[in-house]
């Protein structure tokens, strides 16, 4: 799956009005609760690049018990870039680019059926445990819809992996014979 485009996400978070880097980091982590939290350094580095490219502009400074904080606002060009990103459909992945898949292939190439199967069994257990954790997040009465929608996304992908792991376990002996005739 393509990595999250942090510059576009930050442009989106600025669409509602200007914000400081700190506010942007908090808004990011709140809105994308199951994404990797953004590091402050990454926020400021990204803002620097967006400003250089004319997509955001400094919109004043203030000081609250600390150093000056620069607020950033979306420029017209930034708004166009954001609109364009939002209307572009993500290409469905035409190839399998997962470590999961690569590891099973390599295990089968360099080792035997048992090795590949052991890996699949261990991986299945790990996936099932994670699926249970995410389901508990959703079932919690305190869960917000943001939490639920984010967990849904992860669950749907884990579920697909689990089905693949299960099917591959059923095929692994025949597959090994094909790879090592």
């Amino acid at each position: 799956m393509a990595a999250v485009s942090t510059p576009h996400v930050l442009l989106g978070l600025l669409a509602g009005g200007s914000r400081h880097g700190y506010e942007l980091k908090r808004a990011h982590d709140e809105r994308l609760p199951r994404a990797r939290p953004l590091a402050f350094g990454q926020v400021y580095a990204t803002l620097g690049r967006l400003e250089r490219d004319g997509l955001v502009a400094a919109a004043g400074q203030d000081r609250v018990a600390g150093p000056d904080r620069t607020a950033y606002a979306l420029t017209d060009q930034g708004r166009d870039t954001l609109d364009q990103w939002l209307t572009t459909v993500e290409p469905p992945m035409p190839y399998v680019a997962s470590t999961l898949f690569a590891k099973v292939v390599v295990a089968l190439l360099v080792a035997d059926v048992d090795r590949a199967r052991s890996y699949l069994i261990a991986q299945r257990a790990a996936h099932a445990a994670r699926l249970r954790e995410l389901t508990a997040v959703k079932a919690d009465t305190a869960a917000t819809l943001s939490d639920v929608v984010a967990a849904d996304f992860a669950i749907a992908h884990l579920d697909a992996d689990l089905r693949w792991l299960q099917t591959t376990l059923g095929r692994v002996a025949d597959w090994h014979r094909e790879v090592h005739p």
Binding site: V113, I121, A128, R132, T135, A139, D159, L162, Q166, G170
Partner: protein
């Protein structure tokens, strides 16, 4: 504390074995998913545990009582009073309204009409289908029917709920809403749940997964006919 137990349960349909010696324990208040591929014996196990079927061999105990030796009438009474049973298709009585369907187990257990209706309305409310209280199943959506069936299975506040693919006929979102509410209410009441499903994402609602394969508990947790090393399938 162990509430439900199977010891070496065997059951066949004519010459075809369905269960070949299943042994398991379910603790009070536990939510257990029974999973495995089609034909592995999941539903037969649920029927044996709930007393719908009698095993050919082995023992089923509930709360320390061996129930597989009980008469049909005694097992039927147990299902009315202590157990709740829920299937993939709600099995609502077509001629009765939602409220009448949900009140039915209470009426059969001797509860007065007014009290039974009040309880039925409370449970329909909990499952978000109070608006169909006076509607017959034929005029409800599949999701509304399954919510009513779930309310009916829980209205007697059973000690154990047996659910066989309860969301199998529903779309993902509706199925999840029904299951989330079922699990939440079961936990509140400390109702034990035995949930049969072949879906990993449904099994993930349970505290524990028991995988069956070819009529036995599969301790590898795979439920697949995985060949032994080098062996032909």
């Amino acid at each position: 504390m162990t509430q439900l137990q199977a010891r070496g349960v065997v059951r066949a349909y004519g010459p075809t074995p369905a269960l070949r010696g299943v042994t398991l324990d379910v603790a009070e208040g536990e939510i257990v998913a029974v999973t495995g591929p089609s034909g592995c014996g999941k539903s037969t196990l649920l029927h044996c545990l709930s007393g719908i079927l009698r095993p050919d061999a082995g023992e089923v105990t509930w709360g320390g009582h061996r129930i597989d030796t009980w008469s049909e009438a005694a097992r039927s009474r147990l299902r009315r009073t202590e157990f709740g049973v829920l299937f993939q298709f709600g099995q609502l009585v077509a001629e009765l309204t939602a409220a009448e369907n949900v009140a039915l187990p209470l009426l059969l257990a001797g509860t007065g009409r007014r009290e039974a209706r009040t309880a039925a309305l409370t449970w329909l409310e909990r499952f978000g289908v109070i608006e169909v209280a006076d509607v017959r199943p034929g005029e409800m959506s599949g999701g509304q029917q399954q919510r009513c069936a779930t309310a009916r299975a829980l209205v007697t506040e059973p000690r154990v709920l047996f659910a066989d693919e309860p969301t199998g006929a529903l779309d993902t979102l509706t199925g999840e809403q029904v299951l989330t509410q079922l699990v939440r209410l079961a936990r509140e009441q400390r109702t034990t749940v035995v949930l049969v499903t072949h879906e990993p994402r449904i099994a993930a609602y349970a505290d524990r997964e028991i995988v069956l394969r070819d009529g036995l508990v599969d301790h590898t947790g795979l439920g697949l006919d995985v060949p032994l090393a080098g062996g032909a399938r």
